[in-house]
């Protein structure tokens, strides 16, 4: 079953496009999406995810959401701490860099989440509508905890205002939260009118976006050689630990197979847009060559290709055990 899912995931158009992007870099092609197109696509994806999540949220009850929400917050606080401790064992990074990496793994990746939704739904599972809310919730606490951990090793105080403002007013949170409100207010009847654009075209746009992500991630690959064995091991194994935690929390808080798998992917994925910007501002001493290589060069491709089907399979197994 796990193998079937893995193959189904591997031959899905978005993942194949990602592989094509990687290949383009290996061939030293000059292929890039134009900057404006990349920005446009990412706005489309963020707003589309937000609106669909908002529409689904309007059909959920508060009682249904409460437990998963608390569970997600707990994940956001615990995952960076585990990451920080594990990095201490696996690598020789100093406290500042450990905290910076922890901030990335505590936060989450929208693109990985979106790819997970596509696989889970195409496997015939339904995903609770409120998972997009969980995505928005999980984006911030991990960054704060990571920065807090790093600040212990820092000889000065962190400029919290600037970093938090960057995360809150950056386009991810603004469009995601804005989309949620928009979808919630407009409801199913309003969404019907924009469905052809935000629903029908969605996987196609994601495919194009992942082509560019393949190129961006591919350009990070040479840095992996410099990263050292410990960081690579961390980038590959940590998503399995944090992902398992996420799937377990999903089941414990009453989510179905699909929803728990997606929460697993949310915890397993590492941020490479919101967190790097915040960390760069607040922790200039930390090296982007370490935290971006880990989150974008190692963990993102790993999750996209292996992590998502593995966590879905795990979620099926846990369901089968009768939780």
């Amino acid at each position: 079953m796990a193998l079937e899912l893995a193959i189904q995931n591997l031959i899905s158009p978005p993942v194949l496009a990602f592989a094509l992007g990687l290949l383009a870099v290996l061939l030293k092609s000059d292929l890039r999406l134009p900057e404006a197109v990349y920005q446009g696509l990412s706005i489309y994806l963020l707003l589309g995810i937000g609106i669909k999540g908002g529409v689904a949220l309007s059909e959920s009850t508060a009682a249904e959401i409460a437990l998963p929400l608390v569970g997600t917050l707990a994940i956001g606080l615990i995952v960076p701490v585990i990451a920080y401790l594990l990095l201490g064992g696996l690598t020789k990074l100093d406290g500042i860099n450990k905290g910076a990496v922890a901030a990335h793994y505590g936060s989450t990746s929208l693109v990985t989440f979106t790819a997970a939704l596509v696989l889970v739904e195409s496997s015939g599972y339904t995903v609770e509508g409120y998972v997009t809310t969980l995505l928005a919730v999980l984006e911030i606490p991990g960054i704060v905890v990571g920065l807090l951990l790093a600040s212990r090793a820092l000889g000065r105080s962190v400029n919290w205002g600037e970093a938090i403002r960057e995360v809150l007013t950056g386009k991810s949170i603004l469009l995601l939260a804005g989309g949620l409100v928009l979808g919630y207010l407009t409801g199913t009847s309003g969404y019907e009118r924009i469905e052809p654009f935000f629903g029908g075209l969605f996987t196609g746009v994601l495919t194009l976006f992942l082509l560019e992500m393949g190129i961006v991630a591919g350009r990070r690959l040479p840095d992996i050689k410099k990263a050292g064995f410990g960081l690579v091991a961390f980038g590959l194994f940590f998503p399995l630990i944090s992902g398992t935690l996420g799937v377990a929390v999903g089941h414990l808080t009453g989510m179905g197979v699909g929803g728990a798998a997606v929460l697993g992917v949310l915890s397993a994925s590492a941020s490479y847009i919101a967190a790097p910007a915040a960390v760069r501002l607040a922790l200039p001493e930390a090296s982007p060559g370490i935290y971006l290589t880990a989150s974008l060069g190692i963990t993102f491709p790993f999750n996209l290709i292996f992590g998502i089907p593995l966590l879905l399979a795990l979620s099926e197994v846990i369901e089968g055990m009768g939780f």
């Binding site: 900057e35 600037e162 961006v216 350009r219 490479y272 847009i273 790097p276 910007a277 960390v279 760069r280 501002l281 200039p284 001493e285 090296s287 982007p288 060559g289 971006l292 974008l296």
Partner: protein, 99 residues
């Protein structure tokens, strides 16, 4: 002669710190600036901006006194940790009260 001597300061840096840089420039007395997108490579070659816009090039024409102050702040707060490169050229301007 209506032309007056001023300094043109050019800063190429990562887009993440654009707002912080511009705020500092204004605070230190620059009356205006021009920002454009840029890409390239430097000796450090470590940025976070690969995904979100890469580098920026800021140009501002200032007096010698303002220039000194800006360079000092750059030296203290930006050069050690950020991808940031800077050069200064002698320029001549008309309407010198604007710079």
């Amino acid at each position: 002669m209506i032309l007056k001597q001023r300094k043109l300061l050019t800063i190429v840096s990562e887009v993440t710190i654009e707002n912080r840089l511009l705020k500092d420039l204004e605070r230190l007395g620059a009356k205006g600036y021009t920002v454009s997108a840029a890409h390239g490579k430097g000796p450090r070659d470590q940025r976070t901006g690969d995904l979100e816009g890469g580098n920026i090039r800021i140009e501002t024409v200032v007096s010698n006194e303002v220039l000194e102050q800006i360079l000092e702040v750059l030296e203290q707060n930006y050069f050690p940790h950020y991808a940031c490169t800077t050069w200064v050229s002698q320029v001549e301007v008309v309407r010198d009260e604007r710079y």
